[in-house]
């Protein structure tokens, strides 16, 4: 096919280019600016090249935060995916009970991150929090998320499970409802037990939605910031200092703009790669 060459068509792209430039590229360039120079004040700057980057990636604190965050993300997936499937299987399939339970289940998803953090921050306190009081005084287990690294970790993990398992459950619920009745009928005729129905019909049919759930939950938990910031502030010590919290500690807490910018770019790139993986995998699943 013969293509017409018309360079005026570029003009049509111009508005998008301009708006993206103002919204994304210009702010990003500021970060790039800081990541390759040491800016001491107005008019006082030294070109440092890749030194900030080298300094950042060699930082053992960053490595620790990275592995900590990765471990957290894996634990999130390990708990939330099976739990989400279980909840979806247990939900009623139709009637007003279905609508009611869907609304109840979806409620945590509608609460702003900050509020989720505040809720758990109070809930977990031993003196005035229902949860903290219950664990300490009724169960008799010593629990204090402001002092004990293990308790802080568990609090943030449980909070994330509470906040985001509904998403997995809703996705799975939709996936389960999409399985046509004849599959269950055929399984009954074939004499399949409940476990076989789950293993050979439901789980394979949920593959698509589960993939989306895994990728979404991995990305989200890898970027987690607000809730642990509100509850633990990254502590005690560095027990809950995930990548985002580490970044804000450097850039805003210590005002190390060079290190902060360099790491921002690296973090940004990491998320971009994950996004790409996410996108291509979903496309491939859709094509099947």
């Amino acid at each position: 096919m013969q293509k017409t060459v018309n360079h005026r068509a570029w003009l049509l792209v111009l508005p998008v280019v301009l708006s993206v430039a103002f919204s994304a590229i210009l702010p990003l360039m500021t970060v790039v600016n800081y990541s390759v120079q040491d800016i001491l004040g107005p008019g006082q700057r030294v070109w440092v090249g890749n030194e900030w980057f080298i300094d950042t990636v060699r930082n053992p604190d960053l490595h620790a935060a990275f592995w900590r965050n990765l471990l957290f993300s894996f634990q999130v997936l390990l708990i939330q995916i099976p739990l989400g499937i279980a909840v979806a299987l247990a939900l009623p399939a139709k009637g007003w009970q279905a609508s009611l339970s869907l609304v109840l289940i979806a409620l945590p998803l509608l609460i702003p991150w900050n509020v989720v953090g505040t809720i758990w921050q109070i809930f977990g306190r031993a003196d005035i929090g229902l949860g903290g009081y219950f664990v300490n005084n009724i169960l008799g287990i010593s629990y204090n998320y402001t002092l004990e690294p293990r308790d802080a970790w568990i609090t943030v993990l449980v909070m994330d499970v509470w906040h985001w398992t509904p998403l997995v459950a809703l996705l799975c619920y939709a996936g389960l409802r999409a399985i046509p009745d004849p599959f269950y009928q055929a399984a009954r005729i074939d004499g399949a037990k409940l476990w076989s129905i789950f293993w050979y019909i439901q789980l394979p049919k949920l593959r698509g939605v589960l993939l989306i759930a895994v990728l979404l939950r991995f990305m989200d938990s890898f970027m987690i910031y607000t809730e642990p910031f509100v509850v633990t502030g990254g502590g005690p010590g560095t027990a809950t200092t995930f990548l985002s919290i580490y970044l804000s500690n450097i850039a805003i807490g210590q005002f190390d703009l060079g290190n902060g910018s360099a790491f921002s770019l690296i973090y940004f790139l990491l998320i971009q790669i994950l996004c790409f993986v996410f996108y291509t995998t979903i496309l491939r699943v859709g094509r099947k």
Partner: protein, 360 residues
Amino acid sequence: MAEVKLRGLAHSYHPQPGKPEDYAVRPLEMTWEDGGAYALLGPSGCGKTTLLNIISGLIQPTQGQVLFDGKDVTELPTERRNIAQVFQFPVIYDTMTVFDNLAFPLRNRGVRPSEVTRRVQEIAEQLDLTEDLRRRASGLSADIKQKISLGRGLVRSDVAAILFDEPLTVIDPQLKLVLRSKLKQIHRQFKLTLIYVTHDQTEALTFADQVVVMYEGSVVQVGTPQELFERPAHTFVGYFIGSPGMNLLPARLVDGRVCVGDQPLPVNAGALRLAAGDELSIGIRPEFVRYSTAAAPDALPVHVTRVEDLGNYQIVTAELVGTAQRVKAKLAEEAAASLGPGWLQFPAERLRIYRNGMAV
């Protein structure tokens, strides 16, 4: 292999059914003979699938009994009924190979592995699936998947009947023929009772020895394809079977004669014991209507409004003079037909009289 008997069977999806319209399947008596090939034919929503699901036990009937070889199975769950069912869309277990798919019903019933292998290979041979046995079932085409669903029914040696719920809907037209003849072959070989639900009359007429026509939850006629064509027991059968369907004209009794409009027809009304208040209609197949361009005794004057040449035959559409009733006639390719005035004859031996929809 079994005779399936339905006794006083009815089903309603309403919690408290009252009116006859509340019933998806209205009370019926029916015997499906051992080894028979039946087609269950009817429009969408007439209760075919409900009836099928009652036989397989997926639905508990509101009233009545299901008997296999005289044994009451109404209370038995599906998995203990020895019924195989093939659905409209192929149901296969995606993650399994074809072999495992076929072996699944046997393994669930605790059959010995050596026996499983023997049965699966035997059935795969019958269905031409031997080459696909090692392949994963998910990537295969719709017709092979449908054969796998059928095979899962056939592997069980104790199968009493196989039920098909419009199994060829998603199959390509050319493959439909192949698969249909495969089904007939399987039927002859295994001598199974087959019940085949469809709304495609060609499929029903070519496949079955006996066609069961359902309409609004009732079985309106059971018969061979020829019986359905020549002697429809219900106006619906006349209209539904045949292409084009039967001509159905409202009629009335005038001085003891059956008339359409003002024209008396060659019917012995006295012998049929018709009463003046009956809602009557006459039916005649387009194939049996005689058309001529000249007047003849008993012929009704008509105005031909359309002549369609459909290749090897023609369809003449005419309006009866004095009424707005339309009649279609199927004529041979070489017959001369022209628009405008003409005459139609309804041979007495081909005329059917219906009272309130039922043949008299």
